[in-house]
């Protein structure tokens, strides 16, 4: 025995599914309104710009969620508020970067020419001169540091992920963490103290700088490679073992190639981390005005140090030195950009299978 009730049409408020929606143009409209009000305040009332910007941000933070609260309800108001906050945080992070790129490019382009890239500073006092010795020095020292750090870093990471159990692995992880926190000047002092034992206190040479940079680079490589190896699914290792492949061959032929794209990115980031280091090189490689391509002997210049000295001791008249400093900064910037591009290409190549 059942009683059937005829379903009556429910109004939208009873069902609670339909809620008010702000029109799509409400967000841009609010922003435009705030900007216009701010501009008016600055122009007409002559209010100070930082105050206007601060008030504008606050106004956005209050009006958008408030509007949403009235029309759309609490959850959407919350959503709007966080959207505004996250966007602001992003803009705040992007602002210094943009400013940096624009400033370096503007000031650096004045002397960024062929002459700058192909001559050193031998006998240059005022106008002219270039950063060839510094570019070559940076490339050699960073290159050597990469050659030292990448194998050590990758092998350490392989040990930690694939083999490491118990105390030794935990100790290594701890040491890598500690190494991450070493101030760069300490790394330079370490390299200097190490080589001063063998070559005396006046030792200055490129390999020393490479060793100092390696101290900074190895933990970064270990950490990033470790994360990449952990991302390789265990099923691939098992698939390889099930074919009767030894653990070592599995790592070399399956695990590392699978993680290659990520490893390439990690290595590039590590290089970018150390290529701009000034303090350690100041101590152990010193500085020079002439091209030195032999990292085993004598002082070498590098772009960060060249920039530093060109700016602090620009010579007379000072404007040429300052121009060179900006151009060197731009060069360093471009090298790092180029490295990132190379890493992308490399990971693209490793990422897809090739048929032979």
């Amino acid at each position: 025995m059942t009683t059937t009730t005829t379903p009556t049409a429910l109004t939208s408020s009873e069902v609670g599914l339909n809620q008010g929606r702000l029109p799509r143009w409400s967000t841009p409209a609010t922003i435009v309104a705030v900007v216009v009000l701010g501009a008016l305040a600055t122009l007409v009332l002559d209010a100070p710009v930082p105050l206007v910007v601060g008030l504008g941000v606050l106004a956005l933070l209050v009006t958008l969620p408030a509007l949403a609260w009235v029309v759309e309800g609490r959850r959407r108001a919350n959503d709007r508020m966080w959207t505004v906050l996250v966007t602001l945080a992003f803009a705040l992070a992007l602002l210094p970067l943009l400013s940096l790129v624009i400033t370096v490019t503007q000031n650096g382009l004045a002397r960024f020419d062929w002459d700058f890239l192909t001559t050193d500073m031998r006998g240059v006092l005022g106008e002219g001169g270039g950063a060839l010795h510094a570019i070559v020095g940076t490339l050699i020292i960073t290159g050597l540091a990469t050659v030292i750090s990448v194998p050590i870093g990758i092998m350490t990471a392989v040990y930690l992920v694939e083999y490491g159990r118990g105390r030794l692995a935990r100790a290594i992880t701890l040491l890598v963490d500690v190494m991450t926190g070493i101030p760069s000047i300490v790394a330079g002092l370490f390299a200097f103290a190490l080589f001063a034992i063998f070559f005396g206190p006046s030792v200055r040479f490129g390999i020393g700088g490479a060793v100092a940079l390696s101290v900074l680079m190895i933990p970064v490589v270990v950490r990033s490679v470790e994360e990449m190896l952990k991302l390789v699914p265990n099923e691939l290792r098992e698939a390889s073992y099930a074919l009767g492949v030894s653990q070592w061959r599995t790592i070399v032929r399956v695990v590392l190639p699978t993680a290659a794209a990520g490893i390439a990115t990690g290595v590039t980031l590590a290089i970018a981390r150390v290529i701009g280091e000034t303090a350690p090189l100041l101590i152990i490689t010193g500085s020079t005005n002439i091209l030195n391509t032999d990292p085993t002997d004598g002082r070498m210049s590098s772009l960060p140090i060249f920039t530093y000295y060109s700016y602090t001791i620009p010579g007379v008249p000072p404007e040429f030195g300052v121009e060179r400093a900006w151009a060197a900064a731009l060069t360093l910037f471009l090298i790092v950009m180029l490295l990132n591009l190379v890493a992308r290409v490399v990971s693209r190549i490793f990422g897809s299978p090739t048929s032979r």
Partner: protein, 260 residues
């Protein structure tokens, strides 16, 4: 090719935890043996102990013996790596190597084992043979250089089977090979197993009782008394007997769905 396996009093431990207790069974060559039972009853662990794959987990060990045509896989001086060359395995989820093409996936067993001296023509022959053996040749012969991951799930699983048989093992272990596949791909794999049993000894773990009934010659039923207790082989018999007149009540309960 196609060797028999005799397991005697096998206990499998993870550290101090005994996962499987006292398994004794014979697996006939050129037949399909299905292992069924509830989750966590140790049938996958047992399957992995047949090619020492469970040793990938630290602390895993066994007592008892697994004889492959009379040779103890756990005997002194036996290298687990070479055991796995004789006893291949196919996993639950298709796992082709993502950095390799279809062709390279099939020859991975040889390439990874350092088979540099093999000539190209010979290699091509092996690839075609293995892919035909896995019923995949006609579908992929024109795109062998495409990545293995470009195939559908069912094709990937057949690629994994091709990869496993390309190294010419004696035994093929399959750990729920169809549980991630749709019914049509499952049917394709089941047909393939029926063909492969002419040349290989096949052991399959499955949760699908119809599948066990369809494909296997003999069936073993594993069960556990409760959580934390070791899994045991309850009974093992011809599949037709197991599914019609099992001798143990627990088997009948499980097979007829009255489990638990």
């Amino acid at each position: 090719m196609a060797k028999r396996i005799d397991v005697k009093d096998l206990d499998i431990y993870y550290g101090s935890f005994r996962a499987v207790e006292g398994v004794t069974m014979s697996i006939e060559p050129r037949s399909i043996t299905a292992l069924i039972g509830p989750s966590g009853c140790g049938k996958s662990t047992f399957l992995r102990s047949l090619n020492r794959m469970h040793e990938v987990i630290p602390g895993a060990r066994v007592s008892g013996s697994v004889l492959l045509d009379g040779q103890d896989l756990y005997g002194a001086g036996i290298d687990p790596v070479s055991v796995r060359r004789h006893v291949g395995m196919v996993f639950q989820r298709p796992n082709p190597f993502p950095t390799m093409s279809i062709y390279e996936n099939v020859v991975a067993g040889m390439r990874l084992n350092g088979g540099r001296g093999v000539r190209k023509a010979e290699m091509d022959g092996i690839v075609e043979g293995a892919l035909q053996g896995a019923n995949l040749w006609n579908e992929v012969k024109d795109r062998l250089d495409r990545p293995g991951s470009s195939l559908s799930g069912g094709q990937q699983q057949r690629l994994c089977i091709a990869r496993a048989i390309a190294v010419k093992p004696d035994v093929l272990l399959m750990d729920e090979p169809c549980s991630a596949l749709d019914p049509i791909s499952t049917l394709a794999i089941e047909d393939l197993m029926d063909q492969l049993k002419k040349d290989y000894t096949i052991v399959i773990v499955t949760h699908n009782m119809q599948q066990a009934a369809r494909v296997s010659d003999r069936t073993g039923f594993f069960n556990i008394a409760g959580t934390g207790k070791p899994g045991k082989l309850i009974e093992m018999d011809e599949t037709s007997t197991m599914f019609s007149t099992p001798s143990v009540q627990a088997t009948e309960d499980y097979i007829s769905g009255r489990f638990g």
